[in-house]
Amino acid sequence: MSTGPAKGMNALKRMLWDENPVIGQILGICSALAVTNLVKNTLVMCLGLIFTLMMSCLTVSLLRNVIPRRVRMIVQVLVIAAYVIFIKIVLDAYLPEISNELGPYVGLIITNCIVMGRTEGYAMGNKPVDAVLDGIGAGIGYSLVLLPIAMIREPLGLGTFFGIQVLPSDWTRWNMMVIAPSGFFALATFIWVVRAFKTSGAKR
């Protein structure tokens, strides 16, 4: 954006569509592909990411004048890691099954480029309130991409939605949809559709 960094609610809004972290900036792809074969896991992952983004943006923004520039990356990573450990402990306690299925991907929120990108790119130079809104926006923007993909992959692949059988039981499962390659195809198609919308919107 040329008019300087967005403030207030704008910081949240632009993340949903105009500067969506997954579609626009192609960040956070790893988990976008890995967890989207089950809606339930995707939802947990999205909530985890929104929480991490919100809290680490807040913390980094509060500390922004104290952190020495040279070590800022490592400080940010440690802040993020602390919140991810918190999520992992909560998941282990209340949803051990999902925590098991997500396996390493909860820990990998630490290296999710979206979190690092927001703390480094926005929270380091903005007030806490704006930083939190920006973080929540980025998290919701991420969820807006992941949830639809999961909602397509799970029913087609397993005939279920949120673990409940929705398609008739004689439905031939598209095994293809729940294994790795379809993740790539699904995300590519999603990017294609959204960009087509954006260009047709720009023409009008």
């Binding site: 956070g28 890691a81 992992k88 990017i191 294609w192």
Partner: protein
């Protein structure tokens, strides 16, 4: 079969093919998509990933089993792993800078990128989850790095050729078509699943 009895060589080959860290676990996608536009930097980054994953896998194994487990601090694993990886890449970058300018230009400039590459952290997390032994984690680190390098080199080769020879729908240009190509490569790699399989 008990996981401890699997020969490290089997783990090495499985990590390259059927359990390819990029194509089946989707790790390291960000730099994979960003760098694969150009063959030379892809190979440089691939070499750097092989190097770092081979050394950080056993280092992280030692930290986890010899430092965290005895003191019941397993929940600190994320922070411990990230510090080990960051420190290792930082030290290697400084060493390479001193030793050889040529090596620094081909390998060193990619090292900061690797600190936040999820493939390296993913490696460490998998070797804890799958309870590998020290030898198995060395093999796994080497295999995962090699598999990642193989995938990025393959994609870069295809993308460079496509740019010259073919036209892509404008909306799919860049990341979109790269994802589709990766999907096809991933399908091809599934063909290996008859040879070796580990979980």
């Amino acid at each position: 079969m008990d996981i401890q009895n699997i020969h490290p060589l089997v783990i090495f080959f499985a990590a390259i093919t059927t359990n390819n860290i990029l194509l089946t676990n989707f790790l390291g996608m960000c730099s994979f998509l960003a760098v694969s536009k150009d063959l030379k930097s892809s190979m440089g980054l691939g070499a750097a990933v092989i190097f770092v994953s081979t050394f950080t896998a056993p280092l992280n194994w030692l930290v986890f089993h010899k430092l965290l487990v005895p003191f019941n601090l397993e929940y600190l694993q994320y922070i411990a792993f990230i510090i080990v990886i960051a420190a290792f890449t930082q030290i290697i970058e400084m060493v390479i800078e001193r030793v050889s300018t040529l090596l620094y230009l081909t390998l060193g400039i990619f090292l900061p990128l690797i600190t936040v590459n999820c493939a390296i952290l993913g490696c460490a997390l998998f070797l804890v989850i799958r309870q590998y032994t020290l030898m198995q984690s060395i093999a796994y680190g080497l295999g995962a790095g090699t598999g990642w390098a193989l995938a990025i080199t393959a994609l870069a080769g295809i993308r460079v050729r496509m740019e010259k020879k073919s036209k892509v729908i404008p909306e799919l240009e860049g990341p979109g078509i790269a994802l589709i190509i990766t999907g096809i490569i991933a399908m091809a790699f599934i063909g290996f699943s008859g040879i070796v399989k580990i979980n």
